[in-house]
């Protein structure tokens, strides 16, 4: 029994671990910020550096922070989705233009449309580090109490928006915020 049973059990266990491991995306790193207060920032606006974009001004309502850059292919891929989301007026979309050339970024918004209520310019990537950003595009949902409710790492899709973001926005606006992923 021991002769075959134990190695078989171990092999099956190892197989389960490897199988589960195959299903997981190693490039997805869960954010430790979920459920915590969102890091505050004040950065110059992309369009007018004299005008500051401050996270404090958004306190009291749900909002979305979308990290993007013109160098980022996934950002171009999700742009049309962001435009469609912006049209619904569900929440303000705030852009964080991460380590980017300001002129190129402005040209991008002129050419593809501007889904953002405001775009903060972070050429040195310091605010991005505070938010634990490691690859664009990343999209955060922040609740009315200033807590990070959700983070999506990958281009935004309508499916992710309706499944993950909208229910959390509704719950947060209703006063009880489920957190996650």
């Amino acid at each position: 029994m021991l002769k075959f049973g134990v190695p078989l059990a171990l092999a099956v266990l190892l197989g389960v671990f490897l199988f589960v491991g195959l299903q997981r995306d190693p490039s997805y790193v869960p954010s430790p910020l979920i459920g915590k207060q969102a890091p505050e920032f004040t950065l110059p606006s992309l369009q007018d550096p004299n005008y500051p974009v401050a996270s404090k001004e958004l306190a009291g309502k749900s909002w979305v922070l979308n990290v993007w850059g013109t160098w980022c292919g996934g950002c171009r891929q999700e742009h049309a989705t962001l435009m469609a989301i912006a049209k619904t007026n569900a929440v303000p979309l705030i852009g964080l233009d991460w380590k980017d050339d300001s002129a190129a970024a402005q040209e991008w918004l002129r050419a593809l449309g501007n889904p953002y209520a405001a775009v903060a310019s972070d050429p040195e990537g310091r605010v991005a580090i505070d938010w634990g950003v490691y690859g664009a595009p990343e999209t955060f949902l922040i609740g009315p109490d200033g807590k990070v409710l959700f983070k999506h790492i990958a281009p935004m899709t309508m499916e992710v928006w309706t499944k993950e973001f909208l229910p959390r926005i509704q719950a947060a606006n209703a006063g009880n915020a489920p957190t996650g992923g």
């Binding site: 790193v29 954010s31 910020l33 990537g125 634990g132 690859g135």
Partner: protein, 149 residues
Amino acid sequence: MTLLHFSRFARAVLVALLVAFAVPALAIDTERAFDDPALQTRYEQIGRELRCLVCQNQTIADSNATLAQDLRREVREMIAAGKTDDEIRTFMVDRYGDFVLYKPRMTPINYLLWAAPVLLLLLGTFLGLRIIRKQAAQADTDGPEAGQT
């Protein structure tokens, strides 16, 4: 050209190629960050402990991804500001999670991870001893008949 000559030539070419391609892999972060050798050593050590999350199997000292450069800058500034190594690690973990550390911390969630090698060693020893004992017992009983086959 004899075969011997050719193989020498080929070896020389091979060595030259290896040397040529080895050079760019030597170091990414070559500039000294600190004049004080103690601070420089700390800087290099911490850089080797932190994972570059864009290029996951590299440390931020090994990588030239822009994020790794930015994180090295943060580490430099924190060392210059007199922060301790633990404060710097906490800064990184608060933002990027435990995954950013190559050496996991001793937190309750990581106890099993730390204990696993010891547990597996004990399990292996236990199973090994059982098998050896069993075979020894069998050998003893088989002993007298051994010569008869």
